[in-house]
């Protein structure tokens, strides 16, 4: 990817209210609500634990953002998470020495799914929501057939540590989960991809108006394919963290694709492309996860929780859209 040229306008030093990411506001409100129910969530250790649990969703949302910016959806990511968890346990089968080579294999599998998604969308011109729905079913089917419908094999401790290990007695923050370090590295890499190279501008241009972008000579096909590949690789990373956090399960990634899309939208990314930044995905995912935690802590019955979750989601997305309309 080409580095950004020097002509990029300098950011204005003054932070205006309108510039603050909407997802951040939602997140702060929800986290304040959590802290009011459960004041120890203000301790650094519990916040780190919160981040550890939110990490897979944040990573998925950031990957999803790459696709959303270009005007697409990637519904296959939840299935990839499931496949990664099941495949890791079958391939590694409890042997710690196999962990690292097999993580390589998992990324290759993710790369393959991402390429298939990208190629179907760009060359067969299938709308991404249909194409990735297809790969979602395909990948889910492969995962179930391969595992025989039940979790098999085992994950060794060095794999589990990626999602579970906590460094204790860390200065200032008390404990630092390995998953949070992985999350930060991933975010830095994703930020560089979106904001440090021309890729981000291309993606925005294509999402805004694909025809114009093509006429302007942008590599539309390559950009789109790259977006799906990044999303799939992010899903593999998330899957490794999920498997590490909680172990083998046949429904590890169920529903995660929709959560990732919802996270992007809460953070202010525009569905069908053309607007959004890394912060949209990050704060959107944090807000969504804070919402889940809040409803868990409030101890409401399941049915009521699901309804409240739905209402808050619609309200957050609606408010975000309304705020953007006022700006333009």
């Amino acid at each position: 990817m080409t580095p950004l040229s020097e002509t990029t306008p300098m950011r204005r030093p003054v932070i205006s209210l309108a510039k603050i990411n909407f997802g951040l506001i939602v997140f702060i409100i929800l986290y304040a609500a959590i802290a009011s129910l459960q004041p120890n969530y203000l301790e650094a250790g519990l916040f780190m634990n919160f981040l550890r649990r939110a990490a897979p969703l944040i990573i998925l949302a950031v990957g999803q953002l790459y696709v959303v910016l270009t005007g697409g959806f990637d519904l296959s990511v939840g299935a990839i998470v499931t496949l990664v968890v099941l495949a890791a346990s079958i391939l590694i089968n409890g042997d710690p020495e196999m962990t690292w080579p097999m993580i390589g294999v998992l990324y290759l599998m993710g790369l393959a799914v991402g390429l298939v998604n990208g190629l179907i969308v760009t060359f067969l011109k299938v709308p991404s929501i249909i194409a990735t729905l297809g790969t979602m079913l395909l990948v889910n089917g492969i995962a179930l057939a391969w595992s025989g419908g039940a979790a098999r094999g085992d994950l060794p401790d060095n794999f589990r540590d990626l999602g579970r290990f906590l460094m204790r007695d860390v200065w200032l923050i008390g404990s630092l989960p390995l998953a949070v370090i992985i999350l930060l590295l991933f975010l830095m890499f994703a930020w560089w991809g979106l904001h440090g190279t021309v890729y981000g501008k291309r993606a925005l241009a294509i999402g805004d108006n694909p025809r114009a972008a093509e006429l302007a000579g942008l590599p539309v096909a390559a950009t789109r394919i790259a977006a799906f590949v990044v999303s799939a690789l992010a899903a593999v990373t998330a899957g490794i963290l999920v498997g590490g956090f909680s172990g083998v399960s046949v429904n590890a990634g169920r529903g995660m694709e929709l959560q990732a899309i919802a996270a992007c939208v809460i953070g202010g990314a525009q569905l069908l492309g053309g607007r959004g930044s890394l912060w949209s995905a990050l704060f959107g995912a944090l807000s969504l996860f804070a919402l889940f935690t809040l409803l868990n802590l409030a101890g409401l019955p399941q049915a009521l929780r699901d309804s409240i979750q739905g209402v808050i989601l619609i309200a957050a997305v609606g408010a975000s859209a309304w705020r953007d309309r006022r700006k333009t």
Binding site: G148, S246, L297
Partner: protein
């Protein structure tokens, strides 16, 4: 405002609890299953899948059929590890009786009532089947289809029931109350009055799961234990772990974790590990991962079961009926053992996958352990 909302929610929850309670809290059934748990089973020693509780038998002389037979099986589906293990049991049991069984026809309804209804119709009208085994997807929806099948050939039902007495026999272990009684009484015996129990459940509204909870809840109430929460986890390990972490973070001490199914029990225990807390008293199930952890970390635990060996019984029952023998009926109630500290070691098999159900009774079947996903 917040408190009002919480109060309103609590009231709603209390009423929801009452309405469930009436449906799934039947004192007569509770008492019956409690008695069955302590009964001495009849039948061959050491082969619980061929045993039965109680004395009632039905005569199957009119179904007697000589020569090789075709047995048909309409399965609700293979949608969880329990059913995967069970299906292997059933197939391997049929393999044992190759000389008598000409063909075993298996149709999978993929968890859909309508598909299972048409599956049963097709099997019956196909005329090939000498006996039909049904594992119904849901009770009410499948009743008419089973009744229609009864008119044509002998029917054996197992696992979930149907609302008709027409099948020759209905094979099932003691039941949900029994499961809840075993696990509830164990936890109550290990804790002082006033201790806190967290209940983790798969989903609401399923009778076999609701009865497990209502039975355990009755016992906790009697023993003066406090159920600090009853949460649904959807069998999702990540969700289970997150829910337990949230409870730990509330600062309330959790003395015991009661589970209505054991598939996420190790995830629940990991939440305690990660928080640096001692393990609670726990009731899981008969899965390998739980049993291994129990042994390794010296837990105070019990593994009640809903044994998968009943899938073997279905084939045995069908063959007995076609032999014209006396079979236990109209209900063939199988013993429902629990794994305890004393029997723990005998149920652990390091070759088996983590979610293998140890009370499969399959150790002597052809193809064990590979067929069940184990290593040689």
């Amino acid at each position: 405002m917040q408190y009002k909302a919480v109060v309103a929610a609590l009231v709603a929850m209390a009423f929801a609890g009452v309405s469930y309670a009436q449906e799934f809290n039947d004192p007569a059934e509770f008492k019956k299953q409690r008695e069955q748990l302590s009964m001495t089973p009849q039948g061959p020693q050491g082969k619980p899948w061929a045993q039965h509780l109680g004395d009632r038998m039905v005569d199957a002389a009119k179904y007697k059929k000589d020569g090789p037979v075709t047995i048909c099986f309409s399965n609700a589906g293979i949608f969880n590890p329990w059913r995967v293990v069970g299906m292997h049991n059933l197939q391997a049991e049929a393999e044992l009786h190759k000389d008598r069984i000409k063909e075993l026809v298996v149709v999978d309804a993929e968890g859909k009532d309508d598909k299972q209804i048409s599956d049963i119709e097709a099997l019956v009208s196909g005329g090939k089947c000498d006996a039909l085994i049904v594992s119904p997807n849901t009770t009410a929806a499948l009743t008419p289809a089973v009744e229609a099948a009864c008119a044509k050939l002998p029917v054996i039902v197992f696992d979930r029931g149907v609302a008709t007495k027409c099948p020759v026999t209905y094979i099932h272990p003691v039941g949900g109350y029994g499961f809840g009684i075993t696990s509830g009484e164990f936890i109550a015996s290990k804790l002082p009055k006033g201790a806190n129990v967290l209940a983790l459940r798969i989903m609401p509204g399923v009778d076999v799961l609701e009865t497990r909870y209502s039975a355990a809840k009755n016992i906790f109430d009697e023993a003066g234990l406090k159920v600090i929460g009853s949460e649904f986890t959807g069998s999702d390990r990540a969700k289970t772990k997150a829910v337990v972490e949230d409870y730990i973070n509330r600062g309330e001490k959790i003395d015991a974790v009661w589970m209505d199914a054991g598939d996420t029990s190790t995830a629940a225990l990991e939440a305690f590990e990660d928080a640096g807390l001692p393990y609670p008293v726990i009731s899981g199930e008969d899965q390998q991962d739980f049993l291994r952890k129990w042994q390794k970390d010296k837990l105070t635990a019990i593994g009640p079961s809903y044994p998968t060996y009943q899938w073997r019984t279905a084939i045995l029952g069908a063959l007995d009926v076609l032999d014209g023998k006396q079979v236990p009926g109209p209900e063939w109630i199988l013993p429902q053992p629990a794994i305890t500290q004393d029997t723990l070691a005998s149920y652990i098999d390091e070759r088996m996958p983590p979610l293998h159900y140890s009370l499969c009774g399959c150790q002597d079947l052809p193809g064990y352990p590979e067929l069940w996903g184990g290593k040689k």
